[in-house]
């Protein structure tokens, strides 16, 4: 797996004025790497992560995944990329409130399968969801709705959801940003364990301490990355 962003540009029109958040960003992520992108709030970290995940489109530049430019892919292929090859973890968890923890994890597996394909995969997916929840310490919380879970538990559910389809790369957007120090440290330990198992991770954060866990740190300053 290789994820390669080249010369990414992105401008937002905010309040009638243009804000150029990315000004020629280049980033290469190899298989098994953990890359942390550090930057202040509003520096464009989340935008970069969304572009890497094919969730947004750049004004210019490209993101190559295994040699293919994401933004030249058909809609359905790009959807499959987001479903199968990357896993998003958000600062605010973004769990679906109507589903319990287990269902929130399984929903990503369901998306990758049709109504007819799901019955054949249900048992295997269910088993993997249970294993993930068990591994993340949520075995007893599997039937709880997000509203009944703590912040740390919600983030662990979100990580389990991101991992259910065994993605090539985990895209984590301030994964500890909304948690207290102790819970944040626990989430960081989880990411360390995943990385130790060979999981590629791109994590954006404004926290120097958190970024220290990564193999490589990049600073996003004035819309450009600087290797630290």
């Amino acid at each position: 797996m290789q994820l390669h962003a080249t010369n990414l540009h992105k401008t937002y029109n905010i309040g009638g004025g243009d804000v150029r958040v990315l000004r020629g960003v280049n980033l290469k992520v190899e298989s098994g790497q953990w890359v942390a992108v550090l930057g202040a709030s509003g520096s464009g970290k989340s935008t970069l992560l969304h572009l890497l995940g094919g969730l947004d489109r750049p004004d210019d530049g490209s993101v190559q995944y295994d040699g293919k430019n994401l933004f030249n892919l058909e809609g359905g292929t790009l959807d499959r990329y987001r479903n199968a090859h990357v896993g998003f973890v958000f600062q605010f968890y973004h769990l679906l409130p109507e589903l319990n923890a287990r269902e929130n994890v399984l929903i990503a597996a369901m998306i990758g399968r049709s109504v007819f394909g799901w019955p054949g995969a249900r048992d295997a997916c269910g088993k993997r969801a249970d294993e993930l929840l068990d591994r993340l310490g949520l075995k007893d919380r599997a039937r709880h709705k997000p509203g009944k879970l703590s912040g740390g538990e919600r983030q662990r559910v979100a990580i389990a959801r991101a991992l259910i389809n065994e993605p090539d790369v985990l895209l984590a957007d301030e994964p500890t940003g909304n948690l207290d120090a102790g819970t944040g440290e626990h989430i960081l330990d989880l990411l360390r364990q995943l990385h130790a198992g060979g999981q590629s991770i791109v994590m954006v954060t404004h926290d120097q301490r958190i970024s220290a866990a990564a193999d490589r740190r990049e600073l996003l300053i004035e819309g450009q990355l600087q290797h630290e």
Binding site: N83, A84, Q91, I111
Partner: protein, 494 residues
């Protein structure tokens, strides 16, 4: 698969869509009820109209046409027709209890008439009415013991004889005036009143058994007045007829065919034959054939009405031609005969259904606004679904499927509600009338005892499909908005 899961979850968790489903339910029920009741009235009128006219009617003019018996024989010989009967219809005056009313006086042979149009079923009073009166009315149950044997004798009489038979034979009642019988339309007598249920009660009937005088004015065969004096004759009312068509029951009196024919000078007349040149009496008699104004025909089962009509027209034309005549009676189906009335009700049904269908747009708007609000509320969820691989079409499908589910639930519940209401409408009306004095309609005022309790399956299916399509249509715009939501933007802020 995730779409189905989310639709089911949303259905269980959200209150707002239940209001949309309620709107669909109410609109579906409303349209089904309206269309069923109006359709019921229309069917009622059609049945009544057909009962009055038979399948096909041979109609001359008020002066009548000759050789009607030959025509009947020819018609009954047709494979397209099963039975035919002649009748005479004329304008007249009927004096009922001192009230003189204008009426259509119709001369019939009851047995033959019944063979064509089920006349017997229109005779309102039956022995059951009398037995009910004798056994339950306080006037009779409160009679002293010495009168009871006479009441018991009357009960036995009505148990052994069906009262309708008097009407069928124009036979005078056992204890009444011994005059030829006649059958009045039940609304002819202004004293006939109905109770809250719309039923006429025998104890309140002030016409049965009374003498009436019928006056008609004979016309010459060429339709001129003044050739004859008005003819007057007394009859006794031996039953009353309720066809179901108010205009008919308000103005029709049935009398024996032969008597009316005689009163109108339409019977067969044999007169001396004079030489027009010399004025001398010639041997033999001059015969003026009897006349009738109409022939009613019952078609053979399964034969289309138009085919019966055409065959009857050919048969009657042949009879006229055989006699060298040039006045051909007009043949039409019962639908042609009552076309104006039936099409008016049909148009009313269509118009009212259309108006209620427009009102039902409210369900469409309700679904659209509810779903639009859900989309706004679910922006984060939409972003999440896109982030974990959901497609635009997939996201749109959730809302369309949601709309479909709301539509199906609303349509099914609406049908259930309509079913319960339509098949209990009369009881509901009676309850409201008795309990709160709020009547949706008053049977005393309208010319039906009960609102027809019927539902047309085909119409219901179309209405339910319409409800589901409206619901899906209402969710269409929100679904497109959801599909077009920028996931990156929706996930940017909490």
């Amino acid at each position: 698969m995730y779409k189905l899961v989310l639709i089911l979850k949303y259905l269980r968790r959200k209150l707002a869509p239940m209001f949309a489903a309620l709107a669909v339910t109410l609109c579906t029920a409303m349209v089904i009820i309206v269309i069923s009741v109006m359709g019921g009235f229309l069917d009622l009128m059609r049945t009544s109209a057909r009962k009055l006219t038979g399948d096909v009617i041979v109609h001359g003019d008020i002066t009548g046409f000759r050789h009607y018996q030959e025509m009947i024989d020819a018609i009954e010989a047709l494979p397209e027709a099963d039975a035919a009967t002649a009748l005479i219809s004329s304008f007249g005056l009927v004096n009922v209890n001192g009230h003189v009313v204008g009426a259509e006086v119709v001369g019939i042979d009851p047995e033959k008439f019944d063979n064509v149009v089920q006349y017997r079923d229109t005779l309102y009073w039956t022995s059951a009415h009398f037995l009910d009166m004798f056994r339950n009315d306080a006037f009779f149950t409160g009679q002293p013991p010495e009168n009871q044997p006479a009441i018991e004798a009357d009960i036995r009489t009505y148990e052994q004889n069906e009262f309708r038979d008097f009407g069928m034979a124009f036979k005078p009642l056992p204890h009444g005036e011994q005059l030829p019988g006649c059958v009045m339309g039940i609304e002819v007598a202004p004293t006939n009143l109905r109770n809250k249920q719309g039923k006429y009660k025998l104890v309140e009937s002030r016409t049965l058994g009374h003498q009436v005088t019928v006056t008609v004015v004979p016309l010459s065969a060429k339709g001129t007045l003044g050739a004859y004096e008005p003819a007057r004759r007394s009859f006794v009312i031996v039953n009353e007829s309720k066809s179901g068509l108010y205009d008919i029951d308000k103005s029709r009196a049935y009398v024996p065919f032969d008597l009316l024919q005689k009163m109108l000078e339409m019977e067969r007349i044999e007169s001396p034959h004079f030489d027009p040149q010399t004025g001398e009496t010639l041997p033999g008699k001059k015969v003026t054939p009897a006349r009738a104004t109409d022939i009613m025909v019952r078609g053979a089962p399964g034969v289309p009405l138009s085919q019966v009509r055409d065959a009857v027209q050919r048969a009657t034309d042949a009879v006229v031609n055989d006699h060298g005549g040039d006045r051909f009676p007009f043949v039409m189906t019962w639908e042609d005969r009552h076309g104006v009335l039936l099409s008016a009700v049909q148009n009313e049904k269509g118009l009212i259904t259309f108006l209620f269908a427009i009102i039902s747009v409210v369900a469409f708007v309700m679904v659209a606004t509810t779903f639009y609000n859900i989309v706004l509320e679910k922006t984060h969820d939409i972003g999440v679904l896109r982030a974990i691989g959901g497609s635009r079409i997939g996201v749109a499908s959730i809302f369309l499927g949601y709309g479909l589910a709301i539509g199906v639930i609303g349509a099914v519940l609406g049908f259930g509600m309509a079913w319960v209401i339509v098949f209990n409408l009369n009881e509901i009306n009676l309850f409201l009338c008795n309990k709160f004095d709020v009547c949706m309609w008053k049977p005393q005022t309208y010319y039906f005892d009960e609102v027809p309790e019927q539902i047309n399956a085909i119409e219901v299916i179309w209405i339910m499909i319409g409800a589901v399509v409206s619901s899906v249509g209402g969710s269409m715009i929100p679904a497109v908005v959801a599909a077009m939501t920028d996931p990156a933007q929706s996930l940017r802020y909490e």
